[in-house]
Symmetry: C2
Subunit: 154 residues, 2 copies
């Protein structure tokens, strides 16, 4: 697997994903093409439902089961991450071209800010090692409120 490049265009990402899946013996269909295009065409976290709607604008024949089946393949192949925030539907996001990152969720507006940090990652790796584990994947979610009005920061 080549190093992710944050300047990858959507087209490049789509092609990379297509090739990665083909390499795994997966057949390439119009529906999958539409789903991938919808997926790389946004920088937000999409629910399966939102993705279905987007994909249908490319190819109206796409159905929900196909979206879910394709998402499974993508998650399996580590091309897409699945996240379950709170009690809502799962959200999916393309991993290509962005290093793994963490989430700061604005609990007032529902905004999601992404950030990365090597020190944090190193710290997490250390804990895993101390317990005899190696991290396969990690997830950090900070539920936070904006500091602006009457609040005194800590």
């Amino acid at each position: 697997m080549e190093a992710p490049d944050s300047s990858m265009t959507p087209q490049t990402k789509a092609r990379t994903i297509e090739q990665a899946l083909r390499k795994r013996g997966v057949r390439w269909t119009n529906q999958r093409q539409a789903i991938i295009e919808a997926l790389v065409g946004t920088d937000r976290h999409l629910t399966a439902e939102e993705l279905l709607a987007e994909a249908r604008e490319v190819d109206p024949s796409v159905s929900a089961p196909t979206v879910y089946r394709t998402l499974h393949l993508l998650v399996e192949a580590s091309l897409v991450s699945k996240r379950v925030f709170q009690g809502d539907s799962a959200c999916y996001e393309v991993l290509l071209g962005k290093g793994h990152h963490h989430h700061l969720i604005d609990v007032e507006n529902g905004n999601i800010i992404e950030f990365t940090d090597e020190a944090l990652d190193a710290l997490l790796d250390k804990f895993a090692a101390q317990h005899g584990y190696r991290i396969a994947c990690h997830k950090v979610e900070l539920f936070a409120v904006p500091i602006d009005k009457k609040d005194t920061s800590s």
Copy 2:
């Protein structure tokens, strides 16, 4: 690493929770008592289903809707945390008497190890502050594989 207030007995926790809910104008019933007892009687993360089973050993009349309704109250009151791991059912855990902690999930056995660390917390607070936020609640989940095992996954 020791939790700050880990000396609370289950009985004390149960009483504290009862009083906190009563203060919010909630009525105290046998079913809720049973649910709370089941909840404080374990140190593991319970699903609603598991909690229902445990609670029924105290009071067989407890039903699933009551478990969910009570869990909502508890989460609202910040007495219990709800977590949704991967695609599974939500897990609930009493917050009383344990500092917030993080999770290391053994992806092979499904084991969950908890750990706490001030340096990590400080780092997270720093990030939030840099973005103009204050953390209300944070969640760190490490999906990891045991090191001592031959690992052939990609």
